[in-house]
């Protein structure tokens, strides 16, 4: 590793890398489990993606997806892995808010808060 001028910044980047990797590995593991279940249960059915109908309401919201997971639904488990994937970069932004604050880089802490606000808008406000 290079002799960085800001060791605290470098530490933050390493932790950030670990966070991203953990999120992706976790999501892929859940997705793989959902995939096996999905193929075993529905592998013989016909696919139908040529016309857009939208997914059932239960697979479109966090609450609905968690309900499907509790019921052991394969599609719900795959959607849970999608939620973990979406949460990964969001957690990275949350992490950056505190990381920059610890380095007293207040401007960038504020920048990160702004990005988090935009992400939250996209996630929770229905357009």
């Amino acid at each position: 590793m290079p002799g960085g001028q800001k060791p605290s910044g470098q530490k933050m980047e390493e932790q950030m890398g670990l966070l991203l990797r953990t999120g992706v590995v976790l999501a892929c593991a859940i997705m793989l489990a959902g995939a096996v279940l999905y193929l075993v249960r529905h592998g013989g059915e016909q696919e139908s993606y040529s016309t857009f109908r939208g997914e059932p309401a239960a697979l479109e919201s966090i609450k609905g997806i968690l309900g499907e997971v509790r019921a052991g639904d394969a599609r719900g488990i795959i959607q849970l892995s999608v939620l973990v994937l979406i949460a990964t970069p969001v957690m990275r932004v949350v992490f950056a808010i505190f990381g920059f604050a610890r380095q007293k880089q207040w401007i960038f802490s504020l920048v990160s808060v702004t990005v988090l606000a935009l992400l939250s808008y996209g996630l929770f406000v229905r357009g």
Partner: protein
């Protein structure tokens, strides 16, 4: 087609796209939507949703490595993410109001652009070391210790990132080529910093619109699953093989494939077949 065969075929196609995309540095995400719509007859909206999910996975996976190695500029990335996320939210909102034929033509244009823009370092090209680094400058690991650089024209870079985010939100792609263009050409950041920081930003940009797509029912689990697992596995294998691989010929071939898909998307969009 039954689901097992369909998933296997989509997984195979995505694996190849991820592998060649990461090996050539051109990115596999941009070909996923045409692969699904043209190759498998999938509706454009489902294809965009699935592509977007795979983009988050590959970007976060690759960013994890780059950010630890110290190439990505987290401050530049975070600052520009304000523009890309805002653009992505606007893009996702717009996507529902635009007919799929128009989306297809736009994607075709982006494909053609991705094929011609320079997204890899040319042979024999030297990075020019910059002066001291201001608020958005930084250092990256060079062969003889850290190399300092600065950034310029931040407002122009910010504007280009807004467009990159808009296209990402509308088309379910990472817009890596446009992000690199903004940082490398407009802001004058070193090439390695631009590409890795672009990758770092793609995940957040895609996450900004993914929630909107999820609420609208664009993300079909049975489609997002084989696409994401395929692209992730392919990119991982491609990145492993990258060291020392001679990819010039492959890159030219892949560029031709991207051009062909771009032309096909524009044609189908024009004919209203998507």
């Amino acid at each position: 087609m039954n689901i097992a065969v369909f998933c296997g075929a989509v997984f195979g196609g995505s694996l190849a796209a991820g592998f060649i995309g990461s090996l050539t540095g051109l990115g596999g995400g941009v070909v996923i939507v045409p692969l699904l719509t043209v190759g498998f007859g999938v509706n454009m909206r489902y294809a965009i949703g699935a592509s977007l999910v795979s983009v988050i996975a590959t970007s976060s996976g690759a960013a994890a490595a780059y950010v630890r190695e110290g190439f990505s500029n987290v401050r530049v990335g975070m600052t520009l993410e304000m523009a890309t996320s805002a653009g992505a939210i606007a893009g996702a909102a717009l996507a529902a109001r635009v007919p799929t034929s128009a989306l297809a033509i736009l994607l075709g244009a982006v494909l053609l652009f991705s094929a011609v823009v320079r997204v890899h370092k040319e042979q024999g090209e030297e990075e020019k070391p910059g002066g001291g680094h201001g608020l958005l400058g930084g250092t990256y690991p060079g062969p003889h210790g850290p190399i300092a650089y600065e950034s310029k024209r931040a407002p122009l870079g910010f504007g280009i990132m807004g467009i990159a985010g808009l296209l990402s939100g509308m088309l379910g792609i990472g817009s890596g080529a446009i992000k690199v263009l903004g940082m490398d050409l407009a802001m004058g950041l070193p090439f390695k910093v631009s590409t890795t920081t672009s990758n770092f930003m793609i995940g957040v940009t895609a996450a900004a619109s993914a929630g909107i797509y999820l609420h609208r029912g664009y993300i079909a689990p049975g489609l997002a699953m084989p696409v994401t697992l395929g692209v992730v596995a392919g990119s991982f294998a491609g990145a492993r093989l990258l060291a020392g691989a001679k990819v010039q010929t492959l890159r030219t071939l892949f560029r031709l494939v991207i051009v062909a898909l771009g032309v096909e998307m524009i044609y189908s969009g024009w004919k209203g077949q998507v």
